[in-house]
Structure formats: C-alpha cells, structure tokens
Symmetry: C2
Subunit: 153 residues, 2 copies
C-alpha cells in the first residue's frame, strides 16, 4: 500500500533495451489524491496515489475494459503515453526506464522501486542514471501530464 520509489532523469539511454510494455495512462483527478487509469499492454488498472516523494500511498485494482473506457473518457486532458523498458540492474534492483511518446516525446525518466526505505537508501544508481528527481514534484507523471516537461532542470 506504500510505494517506495526513487526517480531519476536519464543521462545516457542504454544502447540495448528489452522489449517495452506499452503504457497509456490518464488522470481523472490529481488533487488531493491522484486517480489514474492505465492501460499496460492489454491490462487495465485503476491506481489511487497519495502524497509525494520517496514514500507514497498506492492502491491498485484491475479494471474491466469497459470500466477503463468510461474513466478514460472522463480523463480527457491529463494523458501520458510511454514505453516502459524493465532493466535488471543486478542485486535484485529493477530499473523501469520510461520513454515518453506524444507531447513528451524524446523525454525519459527511470525509476526503481524498493521493498523498504533502508534498501532505497542503500541503492547506488548506475552511471547512465542522471539527476535524482524523487523529491522534485515537477517530474511526477501527474505534473508532467499537466504542465509538460520542466523548462529548467
């Protein structure tokens, strides 16, 4: 229920990438919590996210396709499309490299999820990771959907 995740800009995209999952997501609302609907390949998922930073509330449930369509139709504006490449970093760490499409085309974010705060703190990002943006709300997906990519790093 608590998602512990660190997010980074991407300094250098790796040359060789795994086959991505296709993600389309939209926000029905973002305040005081985010209500997100996501199509991940052929799965449909409802996610409620609260808070910001390293530890966030996250409640997820599967949706039927018709439920997804109904909520997607309400979330007309705040949409994001991206390809997600899941990269094994070793030591049990998985990087999720998101390459954005649509209005954010050419932009990318990489994130790593952890089972607890200690593991998150012990993580050393590889060289291809860029600046950490875990605490920089401008780079949350909800804010990227709303405001686009920040004009200053």
């Amino acid at each position: 229920m608590i998602e512990i995740e660190r997010r980074f800009l991407v300094a250098t995209t790796p040359d060789v990438l795994p086959v991505p999952m296709q993600i389309e997501q939209a926000y029905v609302t973002t305040e005081p919590i985010a209500v997100r609907v996501r199509r991940l390949d052929d799965h449909h998922i409802l996610t409620i996210k609260g808070g910001s930073g390293l530890e966030r509330l996250e409640i997820e449930r599967d949706l039927a396709a018709a439920e997804f369509d109904a909520l997607w139709g309400i979330a007309t504006e705040l949409r994001i499309a991206k390809r997600r490449h899941r990269i094994d970093l070793g030591d049990g760490y998985i990087a999720e490299l998101d390459l954005y499409d649509g209005e954010l085309s050419g932009r990318s974010i990489v994130e790593v999820e952890f089972p607890d705060v200690e593991t998150a703190g012990a993580f050393s990002p590889p060289d291809w990771f860029g600046r950490e943006v875990t605490l920089d709300k401008r780079y949350s997906n909800a804010e990227l959907a709303r405001n686009g990519w920040p004009t200053t790093d």
Copy 2:
C-alpha cells in the same frame, strides 16, 4: 457499471424497520467524479461515481482496512454517517431507507435500485415515499456532505 437508481424524500418513516447496516462514508474528491470510501458494518469499499441523475457510472472495489484508513484520513471533511434499513417492497423491489446521523441527524432519504431503465420507469413508489429527488443534485450524498440539507425543498 451503470447504477440505475431513483431517490426520494421520506413522507412517513415506517413504524417497524429491519435492523440497519451502519454506514460511514467520506468523499476523497467529488469532481469530476466522486471517489468515495465507505465502511458498511465491517466491510470497506471504494466507489467511483460519475455523472448524476437516474443512470450513473459506478465502479466498486473492496478495500483492506488499512487502505480504507489511509483514504479516510485524506477525506477529512466530506463525511456522512447513516443507518441503512433494507425494506422489501414486494415485486422484487428493495427500498434502502437511509436515516442520517451526525450533522444530517433526523434527515432521511429512500432509494430503490433497478436492473434497467424500463423497470425504473415502471416503479410506483409506496405512500410513505415523499417527493422524488433523483434529478435534484442537492440531495446527492456528495452534495449533502458538502452543503448540508437544503434549506428549501
């Protein structure tokens, strides 16, 4: 996924009532859709409601108690407590008579859910039902939580 329901004021509360279910509910947000968390006796339920009037979008999922608590803590203001009496009206119709507690104490609403619009249209309310408020948004639970009971009928 589509809830078809007619709502009425209560002209006369029946003398004999079934044992009620205890309901506490709160709205995390109400626009553009309502995100409601409800404790119904010892069950915890997440409901997303869209639209207004006779036919509304409704998506429901069970919540773990800890998930309910987290969302309840966010939904600090828009709360409702009520006792729900389920009354058999015959012909397959069930009335849900809600007697409000807390700030709406003494107020009541009765609603009947239908499998389709035709059945909803064919329903004849019994004498103890009052004015129909299906299309009067002021009497939705989200609006009652926000604004209290309307000062004019």
